[in-house]
């Protein structure tokens, strides 16, 4: 690790290079302007009964505000990053099309973004992806779909082959500056819609915490950059992740150990959108610096979350979409949130105020997607949740 005279040390050089790859609040704002002609802001809804339920579980008054990315075009937040990345291409690059591999929502989102720009999209999808996501990619948005085996190696090699054949630009599902910046626009909306906090404005009843599902980390890193840029350390940014049948919960492991743990299995979970691990280029470096903690939940918590959102809010969310709520009502929600608040001065102050009866802790929760095959709305799941 000794520095060579006349040049910055290798680690510093790497750090600088890495920094240029990382999105900033300016990138999120630029993304918001770039996607505005194509994607409208999604609504923020509340639910008295779910706020009451989470208040009971956490032990102090809470007001939940749900960012409804289920109403985003394509039924998930993914259109934000894909449209940002596709419309940032030069005309020459764009003409050759775009290529990716994805288990579903990014696939449909990239096909949608490409169709909006009028260019081809080549999409590698594992055979096990939900039927509704496959249909959306191919039938609704005209993506050219190539099915592959459900392993990362098979996905990557199929995408690489397509890229070589077509010259299309590879737009990865999450570990990419423009994709992460695009996803961050949902937090920008949430904090400006929610807070009345326009550029330089004062803010009004701001959120104390933002709970964002994490898989590869595109959404969490983009949202963290936006929240940190707008609110500094006055807001807690919290990831939400399923433990999975195999107990991986890689984002939590990485954040607690302070390093990107390589070679972890992918998470085995019904949340097909939350199986990936953090990316080394963009998402882990951003999350390491800007995320305050990760809450986890069990599989039955995801089902209970879906059921609660359907029953109390009349909204359809996919298992991934329910993960934020699932981590608050079940999982390590109560304890986990409390421990996290102990380490975060602004959140701790909000919790203490709430415990004294001076208002509620305001928590933003992202309902990030609603693309669930309808036959998944099945009674067996509700039974799992009730057990």
């Amino acid at each position: 690790m000794a520095a060579t005279a006349g040049a910055p040390p290798a680690t510093e050089r790497e750090h600088e290079e890495q920094d240029a790859n990382l999105p900033t609040l300016s990138d999120v704002r630029a993304a918001a302007a770039r996607i505005a002609p194509y994607l409208r802001p999604t609504p923020i809804l509340s639910s008295r009964s779910l706020s009451a339920l989470v208040s009971e579980r956490l032990g102090f008054p809470v007001e939940l505000r749900f960012k409804c990315e289920i109403f985003q075009r394509g039924g998930a937040f993914k259109a934000r990053g894909a449209v940002n990345a596709v419309f940032a291409l030069s005309d020459e690059e764009a003409a050759r099309g775009v290529v990716t591999h994805s288990s579903g929502n990014h696939a449909a989102a990239l096909a949608l973004a490409a169709s909006l720009r009028g260019i081809p999209a080549y999409i590698v999808i594992p055979r096990t992806a939900p039927e509704c996501k496959l249909r959306a990619t191919q039938d609704a948005y005209g993506g050219k779909v190539f099915l592959c085996e459900p392993t990362l190696a098979a996905r990557e090699s199929a995408a690489q082959k397509l890229q070589q054949e077509t010259g299309a630009a590879f737009i990865p599902p999450y570990d990419h500056k423009l994709v992460a910046a695009g996803q961050g626009t949902l937090a920008l909306e949430m904090l400006t819609q929610e807070d009345g906090e326009k550029d330089g404005g004062d803010g009004n009843a701001p959120l104390d915490a933002l709970v964002v599902p994490v898989s590869g980390g595109g959404m969490l890193s983009g949202c963290a950059v936006a929240a940190r840029g707008l609110r500094g350390s006055s807001i807690a940014v919290i990831g939400a992740e399923p433990k999975g049948e195999n107990g991986v919960a890689d984002a939590k492991q990485c954040l607690e150990s302070g390093q990107l743990i390589k070679g972890l299995e992918k998470t085995q979970t019904i949340a097909d959108g939350l199986q990936a691990n953090l990316g080394p280029r963009v998402t882990w470096p951003v999350i390491r610096r800007n995320v305050d903690g990760v809450l986890t939940c069990a599989e039955h918590d995801l089902v209970e979350g879906m059921r609660l959102v359907a029953e109390r809010m009349k909204l359809v969310v996919e298992p991934s979409g329910a993960c934020g709520l699932a981590c608050l009502v079940g999982g390590d929600g109560g304890d986990g949130f409390g421990r996290l608040a102990e380490r975060h001065p602004a959140l701790k102050a909000a919790v203490d105020r709430a415990k004294r009866g001076e208002g509620a802790v305001r928590i933003g929760v992202v309902l990030c997607g609603g693309n669930v095959d309808m036959e998944w709305f099945r009674p067996e799941w509700w039974k799992v949740a009730a057990a």
Copy 2:
């Protein structure tokens, strides 16, 4: 039918008395002011894919705008009428409480309205009502629930007994001026939100038709009065009703024959909120004069409607709530709508314009309720729809 000298003929006298019982646009406006402190306007959402689907079925371009009463307090439109009726009571009347019989949504709505005013609600519910509606009435809103056999006679006699014992005011589920006027506020919102048509304003891209589910007719009559008052004959007001297993479709029968047909069976349908027949005092007289036609649908259309709303809009609707869309995508939708347009000059003009490629026919559809037991979201239903 001969007139007695010196007095108006009996039929005229009846007519006048009846008229005083009927809601007007003024009553709907008064209801809107009365409920405003307690109930917020519900959002109006659109769906590209459902508009495209209905356009294909009807044979001309259509733009659907969905009034989301699923987001109303209590999960259905019923809170509007109940809050209007409860807050119109004098303090003395209110102190003795309110009583009703209902298969579900009116029960919960009246319990909610009574809890908002801080008075007791005595609610007779048939044993066959969905569990979620029973729980909402009793647990969420503190109504005093009395279960009875699922017949109209049993419901009425139980409610009458409670009324005699307590002196509570009877608030019927639909055949009541204040209840109908309250439900009409949803159309008032829809036409003013939708049209930019404020009192005396010009209107901007107004709806050509409004499709409202009909059972006892409280919602349809209230909406018809509001639409007629605001828009005269420039909007078509259309009921939507399931044929039911027993093929009753009483609103359609009554409207086509021009008279209230008595002694019809109640509709046997999975839409537990659409089993009643039109009321003689308020709803039939209003509907007879103000409604342009009724579309019907089969049971499997209701399931298909629920599935489409869940899949394409990410919203949970109960079978009754899906009825408007079900009558457009299935049932006698295509033919029925076309025949109806032939008889309605303004709607016919809009259809002709759309067929010439000059814009779309704008149809408002009320998603009137979302209170479905979660175990009802079952795969068997989707299979019924696919068959």
